[in-house]
Symmetry: C2
Subunit: 125 residues, 2 copies
DNA sequence: GCAGAATATATACTGAGCCATATATTACGT
DNA sequence: ACGTAATATATGGCTCAGTATATATTCTGC
C-alpha cells in the first residue's frame, strides 16, 4: 500500500526539553536552524568552547535524535534532524524568534559569519 | 505618556526549558493551559503525586515566573503567568498539541475532569 | 471572640542518582 | 604524521524524592 515516505518520528517533550535546557546544546541547535549544516569545528569556533565539550553535547543531541550527522572526509556535518515532528521544529523557531538579538545567541550568529577558513564549501560566504 | 499596560516580561529560554524539562512541571503547565486556574490539591490529585512534591515544583515555576499564584482562603490558585511573552506561550501550545492523546498527559486531563469534590467554584463542571 | 482542631500549602533536610567539565587518550581519514 | 572528531575517566555540582515539620486560614465549641 501507499507508504508515508516522510513519516515523522515520535519525539517526547521529555526528550526535547532536557536536551535544549542546556546552554551549549540550545546554542548549537539555534545555529543549525540558520545554517542548515555545520561541522563540529564550526560549532566549536562559534561557541568558543572546547572541542570535546561540543562533541559530547552533539552526541547527546544525536542520541535524542534531534540532529543527524553526515561524514564527509575529515568533517562530520550535523543538521537538525529532517524527520523532527512539526511541533518540535515550531518550538525551535519560536525560541529563535524569542531570543533574536539577545546574548549569547546573537553573538553566536555573528561569530559564525565571521569565521575565517570555513571548512567545506563556502556555504554561506 | 502612554504606557504599555500589558508589557511582557523578558524570559530566557534557559529559564523556560530547564523548568519544563521535568515531567511533573510540564504536566502541571499543560494542565494549566486547559484549566486556566488550578489549586495545589487539584494538581496533586490529577498527577497522583505527593503534595510536597507538587508544592516544591510549583515553587520553582513561580520563581521562574512561569506561573502566578492567588490566594483565596485556604486555596492557592495557580495559573500560567499572564505576562509570559508570546513565544513562550506558543511553545507551550505547540507542546500541548504535540502530546495530545499521549501518556501521561491525556490521563492527566481525564483525571482532572473526573476529580470529585473540586474545591472552589465549579469552574469547568 | 477566643482556644484548639482541621485543612491546605509551604519549607527544611537528607541521601541517591544524574549531569557537566576537564583532561587525557584513542580512532578515523588524508 | 597531522588534523578532525569521539571516547574514557575522575571529580564536582546539581536535582530529585521522601520525610518531617512549619505556616496560614478556616471551622467549631464554648
Amino acid at each position: 500500500m501507499a507508504q508515508y515516505i516522510f513519516c515523522k518520528m515520535n519525539i517526547s517533550p521529555l526528550t526535547l526539553y532536557p536536551a535544549i535546557a542546556h546552554d551549549t546544546r540550545l546554542r548549537c541547535l539555534l545555529l543549525l536552524l540558520e545554517h542548515d549544516e555545520l561541522c563540529v569545528c564550526e560549532l566549536t569556533y562559534a561557541l568558543g568552547a572546547a572541542q570535546p565539550t561540543i562533541s559530547r553535547h552533539l552526541a547527546l543531541l544525536r542520541e535524542a535524535e534531534l540532529v543527524s550527522d553526515r561524514r564527509e572526509g575529515l568533517w562530520i556535518h550535523y543538521r537538525i534532524h529532517p524527520e523532527l515532528p512539526a511541533w518540535a521544529t515550531n518550538v525551535l523557531h519560536e525560541t529563535a524568534q524569542g531570543v533574536s538579538g539577545m546574548s549569547p545567541f546573537a553573538e553566536d550568529l555573528a561569530a559564525m559569519k565571521n569565521m575565517p577558513n570555513r571548512p567545506g564549501a563556502p556555504r554561506c560566504a
